[in-house]
């Protein structure tokens, strides 16, 4: 009986065979869709690259757009070049380049087109277009190149270039292919998905000679390319460019936000470079030059540099101590009993202490804060106090990344009790006298400029902030802004405690630590200067810091400025901040003397520092100390040119 099963098995074989034959018959003879007609046509897949979205500023000015360029593709098997050296001369490449490009192309596929030269400008292409007819196997394909008419904001924008091998392998959804462009760093990377659009594909029928015979199956399988969305940013390009000019010959950062919305108005990282440098086909050459530049123009200082915030941090100390109940507006401290030096005459209440940036005053404030708990053991009390301190400061967004819309934000350091436990190798082995430099924003604190401008905005709002962000919308303002950029963050400090601090900030500008010339801007600026110690070249090269907002009531702009090695915070940084705020509020500059003074000053690390051996850095990382070498300035032409011969 089991023998009969062989017929079943043979039956199954025949059945499958017949099914397949039927299917084949259907596919090959009956169904026309898969037929390509009588001629020997083949289907070619034409990929349509969508236009990448443009980037605008808040006043609808273009920051980034696309210029059409030509990519030249080669199909190695079809190539016939009678005179290679003449061809190389025409293409303006060396023989070695030619050989290596062709080698890669053959390796990829002898019969499929691979990239030969990318991003030929219209002019270059016009030059070779006629001659190209004589060389078989080369095919120009129109593509586009990022162009930056404003020549600014390179660091925040990022750049667009060919996808790296690692990115190609790491992607979750297989979208990118070899040779595709992708945004790197900055907004181009952050909003890559929206900016790039969606690639389309068309199936074309071609005969053996590559002549198009129309679309296949009337385009049933085609998908249309969807152009990328335009990104509207909150940047004010005019002020941004002005801030660029102010920061020439300086190292540092300028940031401005609109306090009520958290939109970033100005984002300068100095020194910077022209973003156009990284979009042409000379990308690799220019990129190498930028990497080698000693001033590290590729670092986006607003979010990647961490400084000790210096005296600007006293504002937070004043706020949280009031909230805790250990400080009152009329609390009065003299200079006695503090290990800190001070430049004021001493004897201030809170307003006066902010105005004059009195170090001993805030030493005492912090001391009281730390010990403001029931614990009598000073070691234990310090741990409890610092824990409370950390929790309150954290609410200002100081501890973690803020979550702005750039991919490269660094965390910085807001020390916790655990941090000191580790540093002193055990709990309860440190107390207030070990950490008091925190009171004036020195010590182990590392804060990015972005966090400080956020502090300025928080004080301007008297108690809350919206996380700073570049985006203002996709397509038009207000649409597509991620939800976290609508959310109010409360600081947990009562409104009333902001008022004396703001009073003090106004007085600091009028008659305090800030240089008097700043008041010629006449914008009701409130601010706080800071001088971050930088032991590298002696105190002469401390970093100059200023944060502030204007006008005092109903603030429209909050600013933070860092100028490295510029010394006293009330001068260099405050001047830049005041001029930027003035330009934004009045749309013109009236404090011309101040303007000229800032533009004339040069705070680049001196040439003499070149020779001195690099001293050990005192802080864990002060990312911005640089050995000096010929300068990289803001314009690309000056990458080798405008070198400043030291000072």
């Amino acid at each position: 009986m089991l023998e009969n099963r062989k017929w079943v098995i043979i039956g199954v074989f025949c059945l499958v065979g017949l099914t397949y034959l039927a299917r084949l018959f259907y596919l090959q003879v009956l169904d026309d869709t898969y037929s390509l007609g009588a001629s020997k046509n083949s289907i070619k897949r034409v990929v349509e690259i969508p236009y990448r979205g443009q980037i605008y500023d808040r006043n609808n000015q273009l920051i980034v757009y696309n210029t059409p360029v030509y990519d030249l593709y080669v199909t190695p098997k079809q190539v016939k070049i009678p005179d290679t050296s003449a061809f190389c001369r025409m293409m303006d490449i060396t023989r070695a380049d030619f050989d290596s490009i062709m080698g890669i192309a053959v390796n990829y596929s002898p019969v499929k087109p691979s990239l030969f030269l990318r991003q030929l400008s219209k002019e270059d292409f016009a030059r070779i277009q006629d001659a190209l007819v004589d060389y078989r196997g080369f095919e120009p394909i129109i593509s586009s190149m990022r162009t930056y008419p404003a020549h600014t904001m390179a660091n925040a924008l990022g750049y667009v270039s060919e996808i790296s091998k690692k990115q190609l392998e790491d992607q979750d959804i297989m979208y990118y292919r070899q040779g595709d462009y992708i945004g790197h760093n900055g907004l181009e990377e952050e909003y890559e998905e929206q900016l790039r659009g969606k690639r389309g594909v068309k199936f074309m029928m071609q005969n053996v000679r590559g002549v198009n015979k129309g679309s296949w199956k009337n385009g049933a399988f085609d998908t249309l390319a969807v152009a990328g969305q335009n990104l509207i940013t909150g940047i004010d390009v005019e002020v941004q460019k002005y801030a660029d000019t102010l920061m020439q010959n300086k190292v540092g950062a300028v940031l401005a936000v609109e306090p009520s919305t958290g939109e970033i108005l100005v984002s300068v990282s100095a020194p910077t470079y022209d973003p156009n440098m990284l979009s042409s086909r000379f990308f690799s050459k220019n990129y190498r030059a930028l990497i080698k530049n000693p001033y590290k123009p590729l670092i986006n200082r607003p979010v990647m540099a961490s400084y000790r915030p210096g005296s600007t941090f006293k504002l937070i100390q004043a706020l949280i101590a009031q909230q805790q109940g250990s400080l009152f507006t009329n609390t009065y401290y003299g200079h006695g009993g503090s290990p800190m030096r001070c430049h004021c005459r001493g004897g201030n209440d809170l307003r006066g202490a902010v105005q004059n940036s009195c170090n001993p005053y805030f030493y005492n404030v912090f001391r009281k804060f730390i010990y403001h708990n029931g614990e009598h053991n000073t070691f234990k009390a310090s741990a409890i106090g610092l824990h409370e301190w950390h929790n309150m400061v954290e609410k200002f967004g100081m501890a973690d990344r803020l979550g702005i819309d750039l991919p490269s934000e660094l965390k910085g350091n807001l020390p916790t009790p655990e941090y000191y436990d580790k540093a002193y190798r055990g709990a309860l082995r440190w107390k207030f006298s070990n950490v008091y430099s925190l009171s004036i924003g020195e010590g182990e604190l590392l804060i990015s400029p972005m966090k400080l401008v956020n502090l300025a905005a928080t004080i301007a709002n008297r108690g809350w902030y919206i996380t700073p962000h570049y985006i203002k919308g996709f397509g038009k303002a207000g649409t597509g802004v991620p939800n976290q950029y609508h959310q109010h963050h409360e600081t947990g400090i009562d409104y009333k405690y902001y008022l004396p601090v703001i009073d003090g900030m106004r007085r600091a500008v009028l008659a305090g630590t800030v240089t008097p010339l700043v008041n010629t801007t006449n914008i009701e600026l409130c601010g706080k200067s800071g001088t971050s110690q930088n032991a590298k070249y002696g105190h002469k090269y401390d970093h100059s810091i200023f944060i502030g907002f204007a006008p005092m009531n109903n603030p429209k702009i909050a600013v933070a400025v860092f100028v490295e090695n510029a010394g006293w915070g009330g001068k260099a940084a405050a001047s830049v901040a005041a001029l930027v705020a003035e330009r934004y509020l009045k749309r013109k500059t009236e404090a011309l003397v101040l303007d000229a003074q800032v533009k004339a000053s040069n705070y680049l690390p001196p040439a003499s520092a070149l020779i001195a051996p690099k001293p050990k850095k005192p802080a864990p990382k002060d990312t911005t100390q640089k050995p000096a070498k010929p300068l990289m300035a803001t314009r690309p032409k000056s990458i080798t040119g405008t070198g400043i011969s030291g000072n």
Binding site: L2, K6, I9, V16, T19, V29, D31
Partner: protein
Amino acid sequence: MGWLNVYAAVYSPEAHTSLFDLSTNAGKQLMWIGTTLLLIICILVINHTVFDTFAFIFYGFMILMLVLVLFLGSNINGSRSWFKFGSFTIQPAEFAKVATALALAKYLDVPGINLSKQKDLLWVGGIILLPCILIIASNETGSTLVFASFVIMLYREGLPSWIPALGITAAALFIVALVFPKLYIFLGVVALLGLIILIMPRHNRSVTNLIGIGVLGIGMMIFVTGVDFFVNGVLQKHQRNRIKVLVDPTIDPLGVGWNVTQAKIAIGSGRLQGKGFLEGTQTKFDFVPEQSTDFIFCTIGEEHGFIGGLVVIALFVGLLSRIVILAEKQRTKFARVYGYCVAGIIFFHVMVNIGMTIGLMPVIGIPLPFFSYGGSSLWSFSILLFIFLKLDSRRTALARR
């Protein structure tokens, strides 16, 4: 007498293939053919009792190799299943099929073994599953599926028929579950079972039978629900996509669907007579990926048209039927079982490979016997077939005596 047929199947398309391929592949393939000839001579020369006697030793050796390859193999495309000797590579999984077939034959050869006994069935299952697990461990899912083909042999040897029936039902439900929404399937299952109860003779409608049918229905529904989870949760991404493409080839014409669509275009463009030898445009210009290995049938379909496809399929069906008939004539159970294994393995390869190029099967990377480029597969199929020939020649020699 019928061997010309087989020889033709083995050789003429082989020479054919090497011409389709790029020059480098053709050269290598010639070398493989040469070594295959040597192997065949060896197999035909040695005494047939060798295969019988050493069956378990071969099996043990292959298992050892499969374990070794997990640790020593070189990593190609994420699967660790190749031994590398200089410039050419060997995949032990290919040979594991032969060894497993021999071992099965040897085991079933013992008198008194009966597949309807649970213990024996478990042993047989163990022999099949052990290499499967090792091959899955080296990430070669395609080769593992081939082991399912032993079901054909087991069926002939008296496997209770509910097992293959269950398998076929599961496969059918799997595909149905992917195509239709769940609710429809549930309704369909209920309707079907209701129909069965209606048709059932009245005296069979006992409570136990009704409960049994109910349980069956619930089991099917659970299975259908499980399919969803299995496809989205367990399978690797590329496998999931291959199954989805089978259901709807238009979902991603650029990416996953590309292979299948292009294969269909290539075959479809062949029409009745084909474009002629070496005239294929689709396959020659690399439109079809892996055209010299897994998608070789496209070349035949495009260049020789429906006629070519007909001939190839007819050849395979002829070959398979011939093997089955010959297997039935064997004197020893060993040879018969082995013959059925050979038929099953070749059948499975042909069905899946051709099925995927014409869009009836998901894309699984297994070669078309005797056609595809690749040394390991050529070797293993030749060994597989010629061991059977040797066993068969023994039979004819006996008959002549």
